[in-house]
Amino acid sequence: MNMSLELLLATPFIGGLLTYIGGKVHRWVRNLIAVLFSLATVGEMAMYYNTTFKGVVWGSLFGSNLVLQTNPITWLFLFIVTAISLLVIVFSIDDMKKEEDEIVLDSYYMQLLFVEGAMVGIVLAGDLITFFMFWEIMSWTSYFLIVHGGKKSMAAGYKYIIMSVIGAYAMFIAIAMLYAKTHSLVYSDVALALSQASPSFIIWTVVLLSVGFFVKAAVMPLHTWLPDAHSEAPSPVSPLLSGVLIKMGAYGLFIVFYGLLSVNLAKNIMPSVFSTPILLYIIQWLAALSIVLATFLAIMQEDAKRLLAYSSVSQIGYVVLGLATGTSLGVAGGLFHALNHAIFKGLLFLAVGAVIYRTGTRNMSELGGLVKKMPFTFTALLLGIIALAGVPPLNGFVSKWMIYEALIQKKEVFLLIMAFVGSTGAFLYVYRLIHSLFLGQLPEKYENVKDVPILMQIPIWILALSTIVYGIFPGLAMDVIVKGMKLFGFTPIAYNLFGFPEGTAMGSLTVINIAAVLMTAFVAVFIIFILFPKTRQVSQYDNYASGQELTPDFKYNYSFGFYMSFGRVIKPILSMSIERVYNYWIDAFKIFGDYYMRRIYTGNLETYNSYIVIVVTIAAAAVLLGGKLW
Amino acid sequence: MMGIVDKIKEIDGTKVTVQRENRIFVDVEKERVIGTLYSMKLIGFSQLSVLSVIDRIADNQFEIFYVLYNRDEKVNATVRVWIDRDNPVIETAEKIYPSAHAWEREIAEMFGVKVEGNEEAGKPFILENWNDLPPMRKDFDSIKYSSEHFVFRHSEDKNE
């Protein structure tokens, strides 16, 4: 049985290679292999439903053996990774057909499977070296995926890889410090070592590790790579990036705070505010800030994918806020929101990808009225935006409700206010998305747009259904989360299949009643509506404009700068963007670099020869006197 | 008021008549109109109040008049010019008095005066798909037009 953990880890990588080779043979062979192998990984993952494996050693490096392990929490992230990757691969078969040359497509599918394998590796890792190894593989393969999106994505990918590398250095230093203290980097040994280590050592390692995770989880100060990377990446890759990749940052935080460093250990070495350790409290404030500011930025966007990218920054803020509360209800809410966010954000990105596949443009003010031509994608997007806004019957609401209840129990009131403001703001930009893409006036040039082919509809439909399923039956995911959290020393919270009974939080919640009453009310009102005199359809140009005839050559409904008036209210907040600070420092380094570089590479030949001579003499001296100096 | 009249007299090619207090007329030849308007503006007549046409059908001429107003001296002056009625063409005063743009569009539509230099003068301004004589001309018979196009309530042909 334990051999199959390595098998589970190896399948995506083997699949990647085989698809590359298959690509040489024929297009359909490659597509088939890619789908088969991702299906195989999903199958293997399903086998580990609620099994826990401690250390499965699969090698050793610098004296600390490399370990694989799995428990329900890792299974949750494994489920997210493999399911979304399978749906993305199925979606990209038709979506990437426009990319003519096959070589690019071969490497594209290979990288998709490599990213999946790397993320599986991160989640299964039992020790910090495997964790870091697969972390790097993930960063690089996702860089290559982003760069597929054409010329502008090169710059986005470049910024992404620079910031990921900076985060990786921070993690590397922390791992090195830990390795110096305990020669074995398996989680349990590290936890043991940390419990005896001095508080300053603990704080240093934890801060350095979480900097790496914050870059990947795009928490506010380090988030600037995400809007460019997610919007420039090809449309099937964006759900993978923002649905799954940023959850790895959240998983890393969970492992660091609750795996290596258990909650009560953090409590007694740091002063605690509102009964949470100071470090966690700062992280909560960062997450809350990123919720509010990213929502404001998302409201003002004109490009559909950038809007969704900023909304990813704010939604991942909820996950980090939930994880950092420390109470079992809050952490469970954070983990459940990670799953929900992967589902509805993947759905939204795929639906927007379908619109881009048919209309070719992302600019929201050029689109409109597609509900008549693409009804299926409209319903999927509608379910997605209802879930993202957190409106009850769908899945976004339950996890947000848990996070709010946790914050109320801990009386962290200002964080709660910022979370609520973020959620109402989400309602605004979410409606903006569906209004400018699907409602309003259909421009002339999209008259003959049809709905997306079947192969692209299947993933969208699966995600749409799962928003309903996880919304009405939160118990399905709660079984896994609560069982997993028991391992990490959290008191299990009471839950049932439909919601939360009296005891868990201040109030109780059964979502099935909300959904049932809403459905019956809808049906009853619909029947009464039909009884009255019937309606006749009217063309989209037959509108009341005080008598003026509307002609097709002009876009009447107001869609550019939809929240311009709200923008005037938050103009001071929007003007101070962190990106300008980074650019300022980049330019400073550039000037400094150019100035001194010209000193050294003066460009005439003599100086270069003299450099060579100097280097040779130093080398010779070192060799000759080698023995005596050391 | 008399100071202004002497200044206007200095503009050559103008025949100035002062009818009564604040009623000055400046008659000008067709070629010198733009020059006169420019110098009037220099004197201080900064505002073009009215630009319109009087249809002198008797001697087959259009009389185009520009009523100018001098804000400092609080004085009105009217520059008049007579042009031929059969093919009435004038130069645009848009460059000197921007407000002339709309006036010129109106006289182009209502009197059929062709205005060079004002590209929007020919386009329809108030009337929609109008295909008859320019309505403000004296030879346009309004009663005939309206009895052709509209049916009076108690007219003879009792329809319906």
Binding site: Y544, S546, G547 | N129, S142, S146, H149, R153, E160
Partner: protein, 170 residues
Amino acid sequence: MEKMTQDQVRTIANMLRKRSLWMIHYCTGCGAMELPPTMTSRYDMSRLGLAPFVTSRQADILLITGYLNVKTLRRVITVYEQMLDPKYVIGFGSCALNGGVYWDSYAVIKQLDRYIPADLYIAGCMPRPEAIITAFQDLMDLIDSGKADGYKRYKRDLAYYKENQRKVLG
């Protein structure tokens, strides 16, 4: 039995339509000045259930307040067609009746009901608020007796109206 209930529904509907008349009026002529006094506290037309509304979709009565020249007639026809049945048209003043003082003008139409069916005219070169309120009460009686069927006439001989409109609008 079916016929009888049909009549009952129609009488009830007419009773309701009589009591809640929403009107849309464009200040196309000089009559619009007469409406504010009828709405405000001295004459207060809202006690009869009348209310001013802004869009054609929500309105029942279209008030043509004064002269209609050819250019505004085109817009008024679009508004009339956008209104939902049952709809009524009231012509204010003598200009809607027979062109009024603009009888010889090349632009003003002489008869309103050649282009859109007018249920009611109010004589007077701008009727006073009292005249307007009596007109509304007459309209209510017409509705009650079912004679206010301008919209039906428009549907029935649409060709006639369209022909007249084309002749004028070109």
